[in-house]
């Protein structure tokens, strides 16, 4: 069965520092992978997705993620964060069915 693990529930970081949010998944077949962001009191917004092709995926707001099939990981990175990146980030996976399986989320807190 599919599952998604986000290893860090909270990540504190100073403004302009780099950040990595970790995501591992379990699946025995090919998957599609997503990162969503949720700003306070809002719904989820897609940051980026991996469907096929290049394993390095670029998304909105300067974020990128790398799909690593051998390590079943899809870590999210940004080289320099801004205060406005403070939000909750969710990794999700689907085995090309209709259901998305979400991780429990990582709260990124950016300090000035």
């Amino acid at each position: 069965a599919q599952s998604v693990t986000q290893l860090d529930s909270q990540v504190p970081v100073f403004e302009e520092a780099p950040v990595e949010l970790r995501c591992n998944y379990s699946s025995s077949v090919s998957v599609y992978l997503f990162w969503y962001v949720q700003y306070p009191n809002q719904g989820l917004q897609l940051l980026l997705k991996y469907l096929s092709g290049s394993t390095l995926v670029k998304g909105i707001n300067g974020f990128e993620a790398e799909f690593n099939k051998s390590q079943t990981s899809f870590h999210l990175r940004k080289p320099s964060v801004h205060i406005s990146d403070t939000a909750e980030y969710f990794c999700a996976v689907t085995e090309v069915t209709d259901k998305l399986i979400f991780g429990t989320g990582t709260r990124l807190q950016v300090f000035p």
């Binding site: 719904g43 989820l44 090309v96 429990t104």
Partner: protein, 112 residues
């Protein structure tokens, strides 16, 4: 731009009341979803629908039902609200081309 709207941002109901949460999407998507979001648990799927009048149970359907009479509208029903249903409820519709799910802004339901 895909738009998913939810009927209320905030809702307060009493224990035992019947509660209707409405969701409307404007992209003619066949697949729609209802999730609940709780701190530390991420998003959990309640019900989803492949098409009009079709529904499937998700991971936590107990205490909920759904209705899909028109393609653009997917309703979540709490037959008899209980305090443990206090939560954030998120609706989404899915693109058949990219598998991306588009989310509404959420309804924060409090049952007293």
């Amino acid at each position: 731009d895909v738009k998913v709207t939810q009927s209320s941002r905030y809702l307060v109901k009493r224990t035992g009341e019947k509660v209707f949460l409405e969701c409307v999407q404007d992209m003619d998507h066949e697949n729609m979803f209802w999730y609940r979001q709780d701190p530390g648990l991420g998003l959990r799927l309640i019900y989803f629908s492949y098409d009009v009048k079709m529904k499937e149970k998700g991971d936590i359907p107990e205490g909920y039902s759904v209705s899909r009479e028109k393609k653009e509208r997917f309703s979540l029903i709490l037959e008899s609200a209980s305090t443990n249903q206090t939560s954030m409820y998120l609706c989404a519709s899915r693109s058949p081309a990219t598998y991306e799910q588009y989310f509404g802004p959420g309804t924060r339901l409090t049952v007293t």
